[in-house]
Symmetry: C2
Subunit: 270 residues, 2 copies
């Protein structure tokens, strides 16, 4: 089992920020990453549609005999984690919400946590629930910041546009005279691309939490405790997408911070 | 046949800017509008996927016995118009590209036309071809301005963000010292929402062409010449979508400039 790959899926390229953290934490593992680029984005779609798409992605990855699955998309994890766990009985499934909530609870001193995410994730309330389960009485403010997705995809991650958009969303939350949060969860895998722009418009000290690193730590613990960590000299990654290999490679290279060649992206049908 | 409805389809809500023009030009007609909100946006997907989705939308509308179909999405029209025409032999199909190209050729004095559109429309080169067929020797500059789609969807159509994005894309095209176009085609149905912001950053006189009005005129001519224009006292509209009725109604109301109730949006599966 230790030689089996780890399946990772997302609506598109955003989850590559999570994959990057997984590969850094577990360099001996083989990963298979599936981006559902034919149906992205999930963030503005209904819970039922996202759940159906996520189940199809999970099923597709099961064909590769993975030892573990990671749902590297907040919207999909928010809508589908329990259903997928039930469906794939026996294969551990990790989402990005629980590790992100855990990290936020550890980071916050004041007990006021803000979560920025897609419309779908905000509507699903999964972060509030995960945070309150760990630390009841926490004040959780959630905000849909949909334009950050488009900015990250277009590579407009710094400069006047990124700053203006960050200001637009975050000024009301962190402005003077507000009882502002001391912790900000980046509840969408696109948002770490904009961390600098986000930090630049927040005038108070704030811990910025993204769930990639904590998800990687959780995955390591799972593999260690199950005794299924890989003993290969070196790992690797294989890319699957449901559409548009060229765009996946071009935009994805920025998200993964390493070059992906279009010919290394295999197109599959779900 | 004159009592039959007119089918209109788009990847989502953008085509509602076209529907608005059709309803204004032809107030006695009944329209059925289908937004493929489960798979939007088309603008960043592959030509093959968009063609498949568009064919499915056209087939779904055929069940309502339409007298005419309008492809109110530039990306879909660019990839699929001839194939859909062939498939739906006997039912006239109008796209938004040809009327837009026609209007641009009529508007341009200098013979330098710029087209802003989605990545998919730009890649498909349909505007260049349609313009050059009408007026060879025209210089056509095309530019993908993907962020305009997200801004229009989020309702950020004026103010500092919209201006900064318009500046980002258009300054290189219309800046001092450039041989700038005298006509700008809004080659995506989302972009008319941003006309003021676009105009505000262009320092030279320019004709801004959107294909909604010319598509409406073409539809009127077709119906008149076929003798199939409606003689009802008043028309109407019915909304179909493939996902997320609440969002369709909320965002679509802005695009159509009239209120759409979520309960008036029927969800269908393609």
């Amino acid at each position: 089992m230790s030689d089996a790959p780890i399946g990772v899926f997302d609506s598109g390229v955003g989850g590559l920020t999570v994959l990057g953290a997984l590969m850094a934490e577990l360099p001996r593992e083989r990963f298979i990453y599936l981006g559902d680029t034919a149906r992205l984005p999930y963030g503005t779609k209904s819970r039922a549609s996202v759940a159906r798409y996520a189940a199809q992605s999970a099923e597709a990855l099961m064909e590769y005999g993975p030892k573990c699955l990671v749902i590297a998309c907040n919207t999909a994890a928010a809508s589908s984690l329990p259903a997928i766990r039930e469906r794939l009985h026996g294969v551990p499934v990790i989402g990005v919400i629980e590790p992100g909530a855990q990290a936020a609870c550890e980071a916050s001193l004041s007990g006021h946590i803000a979560v920025i995410a897609t419309e779908g994730t905000v509507r699903g309330r999964a972060y509030e629930e995960a945070i309150l389960r760990r630390r009841s009485g926490t004040r959780v403010t959630t905000l849909a910041t949909q334009l950050f997705v488009a900015l990250a995809e277009e590579g407009v991650c710094s400069g006047p546009i990124a700053q203006a958009v960050a200001e637009h969303y975050l000024a009301p939350l962190f402005g003077a005279g507000t009882d502002s949060p001391d912790t900000l969860v980046l509840g969408c895998t696109h948002f770490p691309m904009l961390t600098s722009a986000i930090r630049a418009v927040i005038p108070v000290p704030v811990s910025i939490v993204d769930s990639a690193a904590t998800t990687a730590q959780e995955l390591r613990q799972r593999l260690d405790s199950a005794g299924t960590a890989s003993s290969s000299a070196r790992g690797g990654v294989r890319f699957l997408a449901t559409d548009a290999a060229e765009r996946f490679a071009r935009v994805g290279s920025r998200f993964l911070r390493r070059a992906i060649a279009p010919e290394d992206v295999e197109i599959i049908d779900l």
